[in-house]
């Protein structure tokens, strides 16, 4: 392990998390959502806007830029900012890059936010995608995330015998967690019968395989581990942060392997842990299938066994907030924030006893050929 990587391990921390309420219609702008989530996260940390010298977000032309958010909160001349183009595959990369900026001494307190009106204003699959690759999909009415994940889910079913009931168990288990999460949009428990009876969206995926289009925002505060120890909340250390590439929907690679498979060894190596050390996993769940494929690609089970493994309940608790399927879809930062809650021990009725190490992941790289992830540790 390179010394510089060892220096990065646990050098920075998440000192605060903040939320707006989640809804189907926020009634306010993404700029307002961003400001509210940031103020909430700073308050959680015991900090204020005058302490902030870095701002980061990711977006796909659907949200307020850091260059709007900074002035709106009176954060003048920040030392560092990041306006990352991209969706769920880079949600965790912005936190990792903030940690790099802090570890390098370029910034001291960075707020990372994601604000979306994903139901009332900018519905996924509606906005034009600037990638030239979409020209090969659009003539067929194909290309929406649910369609692309359905194609991969079918491939996995054909190759490994993965069943609808395996997907269903992911949906049922996450709803059970959401029932214990006051923030969650969907808290009424569901059964396998409910799952199987839900209407097809893009076969083999059903309505209850899909995330909830949500209006809301989440923010997290990144600072040095040293400074975080003096703040209001117990620090959560950033032990590993990784991002990188894989194959796109037009690449010839094996379609049941995501970019996460290449990233996972780097991430674990950076943090000095392995899959067996993960106490809680908040895995990007735009669709149930993405949980199953990540259980494989992050090494919790062998390739092809993700379906039965997920249904068995083996491995760490997954998506303890209910995930995008039941808490709400804030594009990845709500998974980071939940991991922080679990490691601080303040997750209430859904607390995983003794959680010390968490994995949180971004979209595993099926749509844009890249992903990102974090390993966090109780400070």
């Amino acid at each position: 392990m390179a010394k510089r990587l060892l220096d990065f391990r646990d050098a920075t921390a998440l000192a605060g998390i903040g939320y707006t309420s989640f809804s189907k219609d926020s009634g306010v702008s993404t700029l307002t959502l961003a400001c509210r989530a940031i103020m909430s996260a700073l308050d959680d940390a015991g900090l204020g806007p005058d302490d902030v010298d870095g701002i980061a977000t990711h977006r796909v032309g659907d949200s307020a830029a850091p260059s709007l958010v900074g002035p709106a909160l009176g954060i003048h001349a920040p030392a560092w900012h990041l306006d990352q183009f991209g969706g769920g595959s880079v949600s965790h990369a912005i936190v990792g890059q903030a940690a790099l900026a802090v570890a390098a001494g370029i910034a001291d307190v960075v707020v990372c936010y994601r604000a979306i009106n994903a139901r009332s204003e900018f519905r996924m699959g509606s906005a034009p995608n600037p990638s030239p690759e979409t020209q090969y999909l659009a003539p067929y009415g194909y290309g929406a995330p649910v369609q692309q994940f359905a194609m991969y889910a079918r491939t996995h079913m054909l190759k490994y015998g993965t069943k609808a009931e395996h997907f269903g168990q992911v949906a049922v288990a996450q709803r059970a967690y959401a029932a214990r999460n006051p923030r969650a949009l969907m808290r009424r428990p569901i059964t396998m019968s409910d799952y199987l009876a839900s209407r097809p969206i893009a076969e083999p995926l059903r309505l209850l395989d899909c995330c909830l289009e949500t209006d809301g925002a989440v923010a997290v505060v990144v600072t040095t581990a040293e400074r975080a120890r003096d703040l209001r909340r117990p620090p959560v250390l950033i032990s590993g942060a990784a991002w990188g590439g894989g194959d796109s929907f037009l690449s010839p690679g094996e379609p049941t392997v995501t970019a996460a498979a290449a990233l996972a060894p780097r991430l674990y190596g950076m943090a000095g842990v392995g899959p067996a050390d993960i106490d809680v996993a908040e895995l990007y769940d735009c669709f149930t299938y993405s949980v199953i494929v990540q259980l494989e690609d992050y090494g919790f089970c062998a390739k092809g066994e993700g379906g039965p493994f997920a249904a068995s309940g083996e491995g760490p608790p997954v998506n303890t907030h209910g995930g995008f399927l039941s808490e709400g879809y804030v594009h990845g930062l709500n998974h980071v924030a939940e991991a922080v809650s679990q490691l601080r021990g303040d997750a209430g009725e859904r607390q995983v006893a003794g959680a010390e190490v968490a994995l949180s992941t971004a979209q595993p790289g099926h749509i844009l050929p890249a992903t990102s992830a974090l390993i966090l540790r109780r400070g």
């Binding site: 090969y136 009415g141 194909y142 969206i201």
Partner: protein, 122 residues
């Protein structure tokens, strides 16, 4: 369509299934790109392929459409390292590994139908 792909679409409009072939190492590549990802050289020629593909996967999409429709993921028989998509034109659901032939539309676009004549279960 972008500048890299314009010639490919012109071939589709003429009813030709083609991919690029690297002049240096022979690798078949799609979609159209200036550089070979294997040997990183620029020289290439169009390779006309037999009008035949193999079904890898498919979906039946109900998403924001009045009627469900099926989209297939296909690998050209003569360029199995390349992936293409298209609307399914069969009477029944596709089958994994089945052979399909392209239908060239005026749009232009490529759709796929079963290579067996009927495309039905009969």
């Amino acid at each position: 369509m972008d500048r890299d792909s314009a010639e490919w679409w012109e071939l589709v409009a003429k009813g030709v299934l083609a991919v690029q072939r690297c002049d240096s190492c022979g690798l078949a590549r799609f979609p159209a790109r200036a550089f070979c990802a294997a040997c990183r050289t620029e020289g290439w020629s169009w390779a006309r392929l037999a009008p035949l593909g193999v079904v890898e996967s498919w979906i039946v999409s109900h998403w924001r459409a009045p009627e469900p429709f099926t989209v297939v993921r296909v690998r050209p028989a003569e360029a199995p390292g390349c992936v293409m998509y298209g609307t399914w034109r069969g009477e029944r659901e596709p089958r994994q590994g089945e052979r399909v032939v392209p239908l060239f539309t005026d749009q232009p676009s490529i759709e796929w139908r079963p290579a067996d004549a009927s495309g039905s279960d009969a």
